[in-house]
């Protein structure tokens, strides 16, 4: 009951935000939405299937670069096409990477994903005629459902139509992920996380399911990445660096990987926290490291775990 009430308040707050809260803070919510989508994917791997990827930034960056290339090189401005393009490219790349990575579990999986993330980073940097190298590729302002909203300047565009568009994509992604997690496939993933051997006995195709989860996670990551790059206006190699992957995991842990909505809460709190702390001290990395350490040691189930809601069957 309380959960539903709070959820309703949150939805109303998000819908009302652009008119109620200051413009800068509305722009802050945009990366939070984008990260939320990416993290829903990451949590399918970690919270549901038990695989911690330290290379998720690869797919986030891939989504950003796909959107950038489509707008800059191919002059395609429809955001729907950009998102679908990002999803497709990520899906394709995730196949060989996933096939290699899901042979391993736990630490090995984390290390391999980190290695692939850095491989992509080096590729982005090195093949500069294709990727723009350290300068990156610009992401031009997209059209939403065919509308250019030319009368609005970029900030008005971002906190107006784009805000609601991103929120809608997030809602759809959340619903979709909810269906996936509740499906027999999702149940199978949770069984794999609890006990892979038992799951295999029961007839779950362990490696194949992990592979599917990996590809789905990649697709969500890329859609998030494409949305992430629109406010910045640029896709650059740093999006693929391993510390960016580390931040993604940080966000997930902050929100609570045990809970279905953990990713959304984590992304939001992390963005707001980063904004506050970055303006307060130049040693914000230390503060963040300390916060992460505290969470890992004392509050591993994150903020939502703290609030001790009735556990969703994600766990």
């Amino acid at each position: 009951m309380i959960a539903r009430a709070l959820g309703a308040i949150a939805v109303v707050a998000l819908l009302a935000a652009p008119v109620v809260i200051p413009r800068y803070h509305v722009t802050l919510l945009l990366p939070a939405f984008a990260y939320s989508i990416g993290l829903l994917g990451l949590n399918l791997l970690f919270g549901t299937t038990g695989l911690l990827s330290f290379g998720h930034a690869l797919f986030v960056a891939l989504g950003a670069y796909t959107a950038a290339a489509l707008t800059t090189h191919f002059h395609i401005l429809h955001l729907e096409t950009l998102l679908i393009g990002a999803a497709l490219v990520a899906g394709v790349v995730a196949v060989p990477v996933g096939l290699l990575c899901v042979r391993y579990v736990k630490i090995y999986f984390g290390m391999l994903t980190l290695a692939f993330g850095m491989l992509f980073y080096s590729f982005l940097y090195k093949f500069y005629t294709l990727t723009g190298g350290d300068e990156g590729i610009r992401v031009l302002r997209p059209r939403l459902l065919g509308q250019a909203f030319a009368g609005l300047d970029k900030v008005e565009f971002l906190i107006g139509p784009f805000y609601y568009y991103a929120l809608a994509v997030l809602a759809m992604a959340t619903l979709l992920m909810h269906r996936i997690v509740r499906s027999p496939f999702g149940l199978g993933l949770r069984a794999i996380r609890e006990n892979p051997d038992k799951a295999a006995y029961v007839g779950v195709a362990v490696r194949r399911y992990r592979f599917y989860a990996f590809v789905i996670a990649a697709v969500f990551g890329a859609v998030g990445g494409a949305l992430l790059a629109v406010p910045t206006g640029l896709a650059d190699p740093l999006l693929a660096y391993w510390t960016h992957s580390g931040n993604l995991v940080f966000m997930l842990l902050l929100g609570g990987f045990d809970h279905f909505l953990g990713p959304l809460v984590g992304a939001l709190v992390f963005i707001l926290l980063q904004d506050t702390v970055m303006s307060l001290t130049t040693y914000w990395r230390f503060v963040f490291g300390a916060i992460l350490a505290v969470i890992v040691i004392f509050f591993p189930r994150g903020l939502l775990g703290l609030l001790a809601w009735r556990r969703e069957p994600t766990a």
């Binding site: 610009r138 300047d153 999006l239």
Partner: protein, 423 residues
Amino acid sequence: MKTTRRQFLALTGAASAARVLRLDAAPAFAQAGPVKLGVLAAKAGVLAPVGESGLRGVTWATERINAGGGILGRKIELVVEEESSPKDTVERFRKLVLQDKVDAVSGGISTGVGLALGPVAEEMKAIWLAWDATTQKGVDETMPKPKYAFRSTDNECEAVMASILTAKNWKGKFRTVAGINPDYSYGRDNWAAFLAIMKKYAIDVQVVSELWPKLGATDFTAHVATLQQAKPDLIFSCFWAGDTPIFMKQAHGAGLTGTTKFVLTTGGGVHESLKRAFTPEGALLGYNSMYFEHPRASALMKEFVRWHQEKFKEWPSYESDHGYFTIAAYKAAVERAAKAAGGKWPSQDAVIQALEGVEVESLSGPRRFREDHIMEATFFQGYTTHKNKHDFVTIDPVEAMGTKQIQKPSGVGLYDWINSWKV
């Protein structure tokens, strides 16, 4: 009580009368509060020392201006944020403009950040005065006619100057060249400019080695070994960070510094780390647009150097001048625009118009913004010497070239411009 109030009223009456009589509008604006200027300074990573240097120039300029009463009586208040990745820096820029409501933003060094901030400044209608980060791509492809973005000198200026000096002073004295440059846009652009200029001057060079270490690499033993085998007469490098002293040290350890000519286009940025112990004399060393020990340094420069040395126990590097200039130029533009507006505080459009073509006395001499929003300055390079009172190298004599000589004019491509030279 009554007497005091009358006295008080008399005083304020006198003050207003005095205000009306004064010819400058300074006190009237002071009531409007301080002028907020945003700063984006890199604080971590390989860019951090450069960011710090720029921030010091900005800070000193601000302190000086405020000590003199501020801009038309309004003190400058700096709001400093960190320049990091392009995504995060764009967010900080938005915060400065939307939340802190600054009048202008000064800063930006890395090429990725520069490429991202240009369109953002235009979209948000916020004046952006960059310290660095001007690449051909940024200028040509994405920002052909910026209104709000004011950029620094082209990234290749230092390579152009070094190449011209090399062609003039060392023609006939070298045949084989090797390049060791960081593997990113800056490294590639500078190396390409050098080769193009050698060709223009009809110097037949044979490239015996082209090395591309990662930006920020800390070990060059394998590179030095390769260079030893290749035996170049001249080594060209646009290293600008910690890699510069490491490379020189390891090159020295391998005996390369005795027999090879070195062209270090931007090494002057880390000049204090180029110790005499391993940096040879006679190397061409570039200090970009500010050389701290110029024999004909202005009083302003000497004052800055003294302040810098006392406060930080370090000698300043060129980014300080970029930083100083952005603040000084802004002040000059506001004053000029205010005068044109009859003494009223100018609108943003008026300030922008005044910034185009504004010229101020910066630390290393006069500097200005061209009408196309690109900076014009003087660059300083020279041949290293050990004859000084430091434990690091300096240059003697100091060559100076203005951007009119080494920076391409508006509307021309870099290589077209080079091809059009008469040599």
